[in-house]
Symmetry: C2
Subunit: 377 residues, 2 copies
């Protein structure tokens, strides 16, 4: 499978953003975060792990995007399709790209408003003091009217293929969990071993892995693995966001250690039933809340896990939430997780997760769909 | 080695922040990013990979910190030392913790100014629109006077031990690179294999890995590995930020593929000499710029790689930069990288990196110090 995207795809994304900018009367949009920058430019590096340098991309209402970036990124940005690349030697304690950015923004938005993603899930990845300098220079900022988030929510076939590949990689790694997890193995050792399996099966890297284990489930689904050994009868849960070419899968699997966890059989079959109900409800035109309701009606008190699924793509979670409160209307091309959770006892829970893509006729499975009894290791 | 820190250490961090807040007349500091929150609370999860939910911690000028967090994080936060934990069911499209946060901030800063980290490397991890709501509620924000960055720059012994352990893990993995890298191997396969080695040697996870290879070095040090096979005579560079218990190492190693890369011998020995010069210059009282100068005088045109080192700790890069412009004065307890780079030809470069901690008498090595000819695989 080819890495990256055709230039035509990036141009189509820019064009779609520009149409929306005309509609919302925005002279430009300023992008500062990794997924926003990558979505339009293809600039792909793990170097965002370093907080030292800000990176800027300007989408003008018409014309080509402008990258205003640290010189350390120039060679990589030049490998992509962006032609207008302006650099400075960062980090600069006196002027960390601010003058350069002001100049570039003035060229395209001397008069008009500049949109900045400001809604849910967004943040501005630059020092607040520097943002203040942009404002003091007379530039006028407002929110981006949700344009970027809405564009990113509907995936192209090329994006869906990458997510599908990440799902397939994780699926093969889950099939091999028995190689690293057994009674007596420490959970943190299992966690390291499972990351190794994901890499062996083709993941580029493993940004996210959570794990939990216990006779009645686990207290949460976000903790890193502790050092407790797996005991006979425990349920082991591993939840991964593995990445291929910058796109995530996000699903978990549960396993019984040594013997079938008998008290888990009932909640487990409820989770499978809930996932299926979610799958059937996930069609174009349905609201996120409808899919939530389909699952919540099976698991009852379904908000234990916070929400019962979410959008997925360049980030582990992005876009809509399967909650009672989210009225986003599903469209073909949206990729989401179905993540029903159920309280088992004493604040312990069992959570199951699958990944699907919305198609015209209904949903299509991306992760290997779990069925039958919980697998025993 | 024990994970986490004693409660006394967290309390000392809070107390030090509070003393500085008194000095700068700040009623409170609002923290929103992963390292800031973890530094004071010990809250440690890879769940920050999900952008869906904001997390807040308030340090009042006196009294205990207040965590205002999504309920999905409550169980994990309760395992730590923070007692005042307030939660909401996130994500909430109508009010995503904002009212709860306003209420908590009013309790401690009804009158005074609230500091927010606003200087270099910082960002505010919450939607701008929600930050606007805090301001509209009459709360007054300003920068944090660099308090948080200054505190984090000087490490405790417990922190230094964790960084040292991450360095040792990477050192053992680098010793085994020959198991995954040889002539004909694809660079992306080598990259996956090296991540596996890091995990086998004890890394909790591998947030950062860059790789480059070529007969004259590589064009940059931030690109992900491509699919080209290693050729006889290539130099292979692997640069990793592996993590143990939330602390990074950050150093690279260069290898000759098959035969010693003869045209690299001279620049390679210059890099080793530069690292040594940096090591000797890195003493309490010296400026970051002095250490830069010591290395730049050896490699000449030393800014090819942007900067010749940086602070290191809970993030891959943090704090000071070894550049001509950074006049930060070194103190005992600071952990930094020495990262001399040299242009070899045609825009290609060779970069070498080591990690050290500043001690009263001078620097101490944390990464296994490279010497002698470039190792041949």
């Amino acid at each position: 499978m080819k890495r990256g995207f055709e230039t035509a795809e990036y141009k189509a994304r820019v064009k779609a953003a520009q149409l929306a900018m005309q509609h919302h009367d925005l002279a430009a949009i300023l992008l500062t975060t990794e997924p926003e920058v990558r979505y339009f430019t293809g600039f792909h590096t793990r170097f965002w792990e370093s907080p030292s340098r800000p990176w800027f991309v300007i989408l003008p209402q018409s014309g080509a995007p402008v990258a205003v970036i640290p010189s350390i990124g120039e060679a990589l940005m030049r490998r992509g399709w962006i032609e207008d690349i302006r650099t400075w030697s960062a980090p600069d304690p006196i002027d960390d790209g601010v003058s350069l950015l002001i100049e570039a923004l003035r060229e395209v938005a001397e008069e008009g408003r500049i949109g900045v993603p400001s809604g849910m899930e967004s943040h501005l990845r630059m020092p607040l003091a520097d943002f203040g300098r942009l404002q003091a220079a007379g530039l006028v900022f407002g929110d981006d009217a949700g344009i970027i988030a809405q564009l990113r929510a509907v995936k192209t076939e090329a994006e869906i293929e990458k997510i599908g590949r990440a799902c397939a990689i994780a699926g093969r790694a889950f099939d091999r969990v028995g190689e690293v997890a057994r009674q007596g193995a420490r959970l943190d050792t299992v966690s390291r071993g499972f990351q190794r399996l994901l890499l062996e099966e083709g993941a580029d890297w493993v940004p996210y892995l959570a794990g939990g284990a216990g006779p009645k489930g686990y207290a949460d689904v976000i903790s890193p693995a502790g050092s407790q050994p797996l005991a006979l009868g425990d349920v082991l849960m591993l939840d991964t966001g593995a990445v291929w070419d910058g796109y995530f899968c996000d699903f978990d699997r549960n396993f019984s250690i040594g013997v079938p966890a008998r008290q888990m059989a009932q909640p487990w079959s409820q989770l499978l039933e809930a996932a299926l109900a979610g799958f059937e409800a996930a069609r174009p035109g349905a609201e996120a809340a409808d899919v939530w309701r389909a699952m919540a009606s099976v698991v009852g008190g379904g908000e234990t896990a916070g929400r019962l699924g979410h959008g997925l793509g360049m980030q582990l979670t992005e876009g809509l939430s399967l909650t009672a409160r989210d009225h986003t209307v599903l469209e073909a091309g949206m990729v989401i997780t179905l993540e029903p959770g159920i309280e088992t006892a004493d604040g312990m829970m069992l959570v199951h997760e699958e990944n699907i893509v919305i198609r015209d006729g209904g949903a299509q499975i991306l992760s290997p769909w779990a069925s039958g009894p919980m697998p025993v290791l």
